[in-house]
């Protein structure tokens, strides 16, 4: 096993600060509320999840430094609910993430969080938000871009803040008829006197900083909520709370990174032990990730590939899955070593960019509500991305060896070829299944929708690569170079169509942001390829 890989990258990744947020409570702890069920965004979820999602929407974080103290989402959001006084309007908790927007509206270009007072008195912002709203009113399907989109996002965060202050987002009781849940203020006093009283009692205890009374009132509210009914089953709520707290994907990447480092360090001595240890570590990470994905499946009741966040996690999972399968067959080490950087980078990206990659579980757009097609078409397409990501990793090992002045073995190139085969088969199957699904949902098999077209472009690119190898136009090295370049078409099909082109029928997946990150990645990859080409020609 001859390996050469970017150790500094892994070390740098591991040195990231993973210390959990230390919450210094200045207040009563709202912990007793975490299993309260709340209806928001088209589904019922535990209060803990609601607060984290809400604060992430509002501030881009799940904890904030307010009044000189680090406060977690439960504390901040419960504070807004229990004590909605005007002092909140002066607190810096609304995210203005876009730097050009901050400059345009005359805010500090460095700071990202602002108070409602500061934003609501900003006339330039108000003008931009109004213009964005006008565009939307004229054409509800209009796509906002640039500053207008950013301003509209800030406007929506301000709206969310106002809703929270009014208490209208805290829908905690199932109605007698219909399915629109009620806030405590909407409950008819003649029917839900006890509920109103328990919320009032929570409020006064919160303000008086009386933990015992607060916990008594919340436990009363929880049992009243159960009496009224309409709740998801207890195991589902408990599972969602556990999933929310456990951060399985974060622990998974730490284990993967450790596996990668041990694999690298043991290549000269203790090779067998190192390989076994890295297998155990990667396998544990894989099981943890599988458990996390399974939790999402059970909570949402659908395959975990319905937005960019989920697909990034899933592709990381698939990459490790294929690597472990190949390792079981060939015991080579190269598959695992190729997969680890890809999986680790994907999982860190998913964890660290909540504004671009939304972690929340939302109800699906009607066209996606078909578990058969989601689990056949989408899973095979995303698994093909995973296989190509693995080939990208294996190609990196080969090219790194070339750059280091060594000649990769023919076996390594064979492994690369095998990963490409998996990807080509899955992408062909996935693209065709997409056509069959489109025939049912949209009423046509193929219509050159950009997502369809880019899937085909990527497939043609990889077929070009394999046919060129068959014809002898290029050898293993060309295959490695091609695997890196062809992966750019996968990025385009996966990220580019939704985030850059923003056209076509797959509009439910559209988003913004991350362009500079992806552009830097593409630039680095091309430089890496150029460097290997230069070293190859120098060594000839």
């Amino acid at each position: 096993m001859k390996l050469s890989s970017p150790i500094p990258l892994l070390v740098a990744l591991l040195s990231l600060n993973l210390t959990p947020v230390v919450t210094a409570l200045a207040q009563v702890s709202p912990k007793s509320l975490e299993s309260l069920v709340i209806q928001e965004g088209g589904r019922k979820k535990p209060y803990l999840v609601f607060t984290e999602e809400t604060l992430r929407s509002l501030s881009g974080k799940t904890a904030l430094n307010l009044d000189g103290q680090n406060q977690d989402a439960m504390t901040v959001i419960t504070g807004l609910w229990m004590n909605p006084d005007d002092s909140w309007k002066g607190k810096e908790l609304i995210l203005v993430s876009n730097r050009p927007l901050r400059q345009l509206i005359g805010l500090d270009p460095v700071r990202k969080l602002y108070s409602w007072n500061a934003l609501s008195s900003n006339e330039v912002l108000a003008k931009e938000v109004t213009e964005a709203a006008t565009v939307r009113r004229r054409d509800p399907k209009a796509k906002l871009v640039g500053i207008q989109k950013e301003a509209s996002d800030v406007g929506m965060r301000m709206g969310l803040f106002e809703e929270l202050l009014k208490g209208s987002d805290f829908k905690i009781i199932a109605p007698l008829s219909g399915n629109d849940w009620l806030t405590s203020a909407q409950i008819d006093p003649s029917e839900g006197k006890e509920i109103i009283e328990s919320v009032e009692s929570m409020r006064s205890a919160w303000k008086a900083n009386d933990s015992i009374r607060f916990d008594q009132a919340t436990s009363a509210l929880l049992s009243l909520q159960k009496q009224v009914g309409g709740l998801p089953s207890d195991w589902k709520t408990s599972l969602e709370i556990a999933y929310q707290k456990a951060h399985p994907f974060r622990w998974a990447w730490i284990l993967y990174a450790a596996a990668g480092i041990i694999l690298l360090l043991s290549r000269n001595s203790w090779e067998r032990l190192g390989y076994q240890l890295s297998w155990v570590l990667a396998g544990s990470g894989f099981l943890l990730q599988a458990a996390g994905l399974l939790s999402r499946v059970l909570i949402a009741g659908r395959p975990p590939v319905t937005n960019m966040y989920e697909s990034v996690i899933w592709v990381a999972f698939g990459t490790i899955l294929f690597a472990l399968i190949f390792e079981t067959i060939y015991k080579a080490g190269s598959f695992l070593l190729g997969a680890v950087p890809v999986a680790v980078a994907s999982l860190i990206l998913a964890d660290s960019q909540p504004v671009i990659l939304d972690h929340s579980i939302h109800p699906l757009t009607p066209v996606l509500r078909d578990n058969f097609w989601l689990s056949t078409h989408v899973l095979s397409i995303t698994l093909s991305y995973a296989a190509f990501a693995l080939s990208l990793g294996v190609a990196h090992i080969a090219l790194a060896q070339v750059i280091a002045g060594r000649k990769p073995t023919a076996t390594l190139y064979t492994y690369l070829y095998k990963t490409l085969q998996v990807g080509v088969l899955l992408l062909a199957v996935g693209t065709i299944l997409g056509g069959v699904w489109a025939n049912y949902s949209w009423g046509r098999f193929w219509d050159w929708d950009p997502k369809e077209t880019w899937a085909l472009t990527a497939l043609l690119g990889y077929l070009f690569l394999l046919h060129g190898r068959i014809s002898g136009l290029w050898g293993g090295f060309g295959l490695a170079v091609g695997s890196v370049i062809a992966f750019m078409s996968v990025l385009m099909a996966w990220y580019g169509v939704n985030f850059v082109l923003g056209a076509g029928l797959h509009s439910y997946g559209f988003g913004t942001g991350g362009f500079s990150l992806v552009a830097i990645f593409v630039g680095c990859e091309l430089l890496f390829v150029l460097l290997s080409l230069w070293r190859k020609s120098a060594n000839l």
Binding site: Q39, P140, Y330, L425, G435, G443, T453, I470, M492, L501
Partner: protein, 499 residues
């Protein structure tokens, strides 16, 4: 444990290689087959098709899906190139003749692609895609709107309607180089000398018979703030408009004397503009007011400009004429609102080169072109395809996600009626679950079937839904081809026969 690189390449054994080389040397037909089926041609095809379609997606994002379609996906050169691909795929399977067991996956995959492309051609030639908008309180529909724009010409020779494909988006005729279309059965030609994507009805004054004639005015209202210009035509003649509702915010009226003007609401606060024509040759008298109060008054001549005091709206008197009526004809919209419908300006021409007056033909309208004694009716719009049954919307429901207004599904119950037998059949169309007519296993598998899928809805009117309609006789070859590609690749990569 491992196989060597390129083990998927069918490597001919020595005698086989010699036989293949020999047949190429002996026969020019084999040489052509090997040339057409060469890997180099395959590489060129793969690369060019990939680059072309990738470029098309950027074209679509920056212009329009229709442009990408016209330039690339549906362009003759692209279709021809796919034809070359089919030849390459077919020829490469011949180069492996006589086939061996190891060629199974390879043959299945390559024929699968050919079959899929044949299915696509059959579908696009013999089938069609379109849509139909239905209302629960509307009439059953017997026609489907396709996405193909065409000109409809009624020939004076046989009174038949002839359809000719024409799309204003991709044609750029001019007065100096018009596009000519023959009128079937006659020696006449229709000349198209201009196109516009924004035709709106524009008023103008035309001489009229005794009863319809009156004093007419053409008024232009413009606002710099709204970046808009409105053309309004009013006449005192019978059948012409005498009043104009200005965005519901103000009322404009024209009459020959003050007593003929509509009365003003004494309690109303709506601004108004009254115009009195008086006797012939006199200037227009005007009054501007609010409720019953008059804020300004005076005289107006042709060419005068008057600020109205309604934001920055100004009135320009474009024309005053007697003994005329107001007629509206489509013309390119110069208001800056980019509203209106597409259309073109056409004239009729006889073999002697004489031309009729050019007229604008807007989408959805029929216009008679008259040259001497000859008259040809011409229309423009999306092609309508008749279907051998009728479809009506019985019920339409939009269930929502709990606690929100977000739709969770769309459920349309439709009623099909066979127009010959009168037999009725209901179908339920949900997201991902289309309804088919006539339906049944054979029709569904062959695609000789009309398939209705949910396409669009109107959030403001839940009695209406738009369905996508597909009639695709190429479905079976597409299906088999698709299956063959998947199975073929899997066989090629993972199933190796023992030789």
């Amino acid at each position: 444990m491992m196989s060597l690189l390129g083990n998927n390449t069918p490597r001919p054994t020595m005698s086989r290689a010699r036989m293949i080389a020999e047949r190429q040397r002996r026969s020019s037909a084999w040489r052509v087959i090997h040339l057409l089926g060469s890997l180099k041609l395959a590489l060129v095809l793969l690369a060019t098709i990939a680059i072309a379609i990738a470029t098309a997606t950027f074209t679509e994002a920056h212009f329009d899906a229709a442009v990408a379609r016209a330039w690339i996906y549906k362009a003759p050169w692209f279709i021809a190139w796919l034809g070359v691909l089919c030849i390459n795929l077919f020829a490469v399977t011949l180069t492996r003749w006589p086939w061996q067991k190891k060629h199974t996956g390879f043959i299945i995959t390559h024929y699968g692609i050919i079959l899929l492309l044949i299915g696509a051609v059959v579908g696009s030639k013999l089938g069609f895609e379109g849509n139909v908008t239905l209302r629960t309180d509307g009439q059953p529909q017997r026609k489907i709107v396709t996405d193909r724009s065409c000109i409809q010409v009624e020939s004076p020779a046989d009174s038949y309607l002839y359809l000719m494909p024409f799309d204003t988006r991709f044609m750029h005729p001019s007065a100096t180089s018009p596009k000519y279309l023959p009128v079937p059965g006659t020696s006449l030609q229709i000349g198209i000398e201009a196109v516009s994507e924004h035709l709106t009805p524009q008023p103008h004054l035309a001489p009229a018979s005794e009863k319809a004639a009156g004093t007419g005015v053409l008024l232009d209202f413009s606002s710099g703030m709204m970046k808009q210009t409105l053309h309004v035509g009013l006449s005192t003649g019978e059948g012409s408009p005498g009043t104009y509702d200005f965005f519901g915010r103000a009322a404009i009226a024209l009459a020959s004397n003050a007593s003929a003007l509509p009365p003003h609401d004494p309690n109303g606060k709506k601004p108004w503009l009254d115009l009195i024509t008086g006797t012939e040759g006199k200037p227009l008298e005007y009054q501007i007011g609010r409720g019953t109060a008059v804020t300004s008054s005076g005289n107006l001549h042709e060419g005068d400009v008057l600020p109205l005091g309604w934001a920055d709206w100004r009135l320009h008197v474009a024309q005053i004429a007697s003994k005329c009526a107001v007629v509206t004809t489509p013309a390119p919209d110069d208001s800056g609102a980019e509203s209106g419908v597409p259309g073109f300006r056409a004239f009729l021409m006889n073999p002697a080169g004489e031309k009729s007056t050019p007229l604008w033909v807007a989408s959805g309208e029929v216009v008679p072109l008259v040259l001497g004694k000859e008259m040809v009716r011409i229309g423009y719009g999306l092609e309508l395809r008749p279907i051998p049954f009728s479809i009506a919307l019985a019920e339409f429901e939009v269930p929502r996600d709990e606690g929100t207004e977000t739709p969770s599904d769309f459920r349309a119950t439709v009623r099909f009626k066979n127009t010959k037998t009168g037999a009725q059949q209901d179908g339920l169309i949900r997201m991902n679950h289309p309804a088919s007519y006539p339906g049944g296993l054979l029709a569904n598998t062959t695609g000789f079937n009309y398939k209705f899928s949910q396409a669009e809805w109107n959030p403001r009117d839940l009695k209406e839904t738009t369905l996508q309609v597909l009639y695709d006789p190429g479905w079976l070859p597409k299906w088999i081809g698709s299956l063959a590609i998947c199975l073929g690749i899997a066989t090629m990569f993972y199933i190796r026969p023992r030789e």
